[in-house]
Symmetry: D3
């Protein structure tokens, strides 16, 4: 019996040799609109499916008293093509993740320490605002502006998960002020005052 079954096993196993259950990112191969190239299955190990980079707190010694540590496909290759990714948020007292969007993903936030006030704004300009406690979840629908603010006097920590392995991250302040877009065009397209724009360009390293 063993012999016959062995024949069967080999047959099935070899027919499976080319099956693509996953596509661990080969960051050096060509990219396609569907993501990174796949690493050869023979080189894949369990470590491609495990990520330890979010276990330590990020550095919050900065102006926003916060940090965002990504675990997208570029950092965590096992996620490539699976429609999921993650990030860790650390918010010191007073910490803020400023208004931002993820161009191609919805997000679910899980508070694991402290408490976080978060909101998103819909296309109809309605604000959906709530303070989320440890163990609670909040969802931010795809592409909409949202922010997170520490709601307590000690460090808060959250993990966020995205519906894409490459969700993108566009922080509104950085998009408006941290590049060479002329003050005149920023003024015309945001209705902000010139002085305000120049001030933020100065702080964020923008020019023009």
């Amino acid at each position: 019996m063993f012999k016959l079954l062995f024949v069967f096993a080999v047959l099935i196993l070899s027919s499976n040799a080319s099956v693509q259950d996953f596509c661990v990112a080969d960051l050096k191969g060509p990219e396609s609109p569907a993501g990174y190239s796949c690493k050869s299955v023979t080189k894949v190990t369990v470590n491609d499916f495990v990520f330890s980079g979010l276990s330590a707190a990020g550095n919050t010694s900065n102006i926003i008293k916060a940090s965002v540590s990504p675990a997208f496909a570029a950092q965590f290759p096992g996620l490539n093509g699976l429609g999921l990714s993650a990030a860790r948020l650390d918010l010191a007292p007073g910490g803020v993740v400023p208004f931002h969007t993820h161009p191609s993903a919805s997000e679910v936030l899980l508070v694991v320490q402290g408490s976080i006030t978060a909101a998103f704004v819909s296309s109809a300009n309605t604000v959906y605002l709530k303070t989320i406690k440890k163990g609670e979840l909040m969802v931010f629908p795809q592409g909409l502006l949202h922010f997170q603010v520490n709601a307590v006097g000690f460090n808060s920590v959250a993990y966020v998960f995205f519906s894409s392995s490459n969700p993108g991250l566009q922080i509104t302040d950085f998009a408006l002020f941290a590049n060479d877009l002329s003050t005149k065009l920023v003024e015309a397209t945001t209705f902000l005052d010139e002085a305000q724009i120049k001030k933020l360009k100065g702080v964020l390293g923008g020019t023009g």
Copy 2:
């Protein structure tokens, strides 16, 4: 021969009675994540697939000297579920479509009159800026901040097309200032000065 073929024709036609080539929006039926319910095929006419609402200029007698007229599935029911929609932009001299995003669609712009300066900003905060002339196209990838400004001293007109029948439209200024989000939270999450925020809240009808 006619008789036999007629039999065949009836057979095929009846088997096709339930085929769903399209799903014209029934705006009063239940909505699903995939879009509006489908209008009964027996009530569908060619007029469901034609839209005249963008043939006239929009009203630009407003603070932005511009108008955006949508032809999304809600206005143009034949688009429902087909992954496409449109809008018309009218820009008077000095006209501006302020910084905005479409949460779930990429956009292609076609200038049909005048000339328009447009830009989008990537997640890496790079600005892709160009003045587009009549007959030229520009593409804005999904979910990224972009704007359009009239580049000439007379009316410019453009049509834009989206990769979704419900692309959404989130104008950054409106999302930040035209609702009841408290000045304090806007300040914390945008780094704008309090006076600036209160000024724009006043102009845009926001409170708090």
Copy 3:
């Protein structure tokens, strides 16, 4: 200026009235292959986007010394159609989430307390096994068999996130033994011994 801008604001807002940024599940409406029907936007509140059901530990006083608490679209309606959902795993000492699959989603696991030994098996029958500590992530590609076992002598807790708002959950033991599929057919299609099948059918409440 206020007056003109107000006109503009009203115009944009009304054109947005029908925009579908999200589709909060109306659990009583018809379902489609894309998910639940959408609740009317006028009835949506921030509470639809927040879920507190995973903040408390699940009951692990059972044979597997573990619990799985879902936050799928049926429990957390704001997730409907957004391609994301979550669950909480509580594992007492010796606790096990037995071999199972999610028929239509990949999964990312985040350990928030303790340590968990997890593995998935590929189509080529390779085992990808690792013990995951607090703050670490592990990804389980779509549809593949996997399990989680508590790796420490105290309670471990993890949150898992899925690439679908309705990922499904098929526990192999329950699928094989907790129904009326005849012992003879289970035997023929699993190669398990009759006595083994009858024993597990007994434990799990199966018949036949």
Copy 4:
């Protein structure tokens, strides 16, 4: 042990009560761009997932000496939303399935009796033509014109499978000649001679 496990079983089973593994078509409910509404799970039986309508030969006593019997979601409700459907082709000697397309699906053909000459034409107007014997497969990429012709002097039978539960079927001759499109417009848009058009309109029951 039984008692504890029973608690667990009930817990898991009830949490699964709302899981959507499938969406059997309720042909009387509202349709969405994603397909038919789902029949209540409590009314679903195995017969929804089985279809006997293709086991008998179709009637080939017609001008094309062939028949096409569909098993799309409208006929076979269990397919709804699963991205698959089927049809049976019966070709008497001289039988032909004329040039046609499936607007939203690719097709795989399996010959189960006889032999069939089939071809598709690419966008570059290249013809991919082959005679397929019993047990062989041929694939027709999405939306491209293709035909099937009986290659032997006795009945041939094939089953075809589609990558959509509603693939559609547009037979070019019927689209051109079996409706009220004016002869003048058909002439202008096909370069066929007026006499040829009028002849085929006559045969196929078209007017104008």
Copy 5:
């Protein structure tokens, strides 16, 4: 403050270095079912997102008195993977875009000069026919046969937009008559007369 914020900015920017907001086509790299390979972001400029090739009229000195100028991903690399593309139609008096399909895209037509009579035919062989004026839109659902005819005595111009960056284009006449498919097989699969087929093969350069 500047120093701290600068640290933050660098951190975020570098984490974004691998984000894939877009995938400009590298026409020389390998293609995947999802489209062309992505050009390195460091080589991408705004010109990849702008296309001027449709600003001039196409040459209508041909038998159809019309021209179709594509702006698909192959011509306009910035569109790659974004689910959108475009084309320009020029129709001289009497000009016709003959019956054709796009195998994998729906289409929206915008008339920018003159007037165009257009129609599509559904799977149920119903004709949806309308004359579209300047500024009006018409949508053609995916994969269905359609045509456009100049409705006025002077040049008409339209732009069309597709729900794919590679929509394909299959002109029925060319598919049937501009290749080496034998007259006998064309006759059998279209019911056209042999003389008609030979005539059109002659005109369109077909053989056999």
Copy 6:
């Protein structure tokens, strides 16, 4: 006339040179999450779209008295990216395809000889069981456990079709017992007895 039309034909043909109607797998190129790289169109022939490997019976001289012969994209390159694939099942008397899943595809089964008893189990652990005769179809929704057993005293043959060109195949017995997963972990995660596990590991070549 010929000359002018010829100009037109050349123009259209060349504009189509880059159109991607299909993406025949180049098994040696890089893979992406969307499938294999595309073979150059100039090297594609009709043979890429035809597969003869399923016309002969598989070898059933093995312990399961059955064989599964795949026609996935790796075996049948023309299927790549088209969302379809196939396999042939041969079941000798007493033959069984044991419990298995396809991680990323739904399946339709067509019996072409004999009779087959098949079942799938839902997430709610309900069994959908039926004996399918020649010419009948049965559908197995994505990712759910299912099996097929010969229902007659002679050879039965079926063809199955999948909603993916790479559906995967995970046979539960092989996943549990044909690798190096320790007996202790299998015991903990399946509730099977140690002796049972060791017996099946022995038969299937597993270790540990």
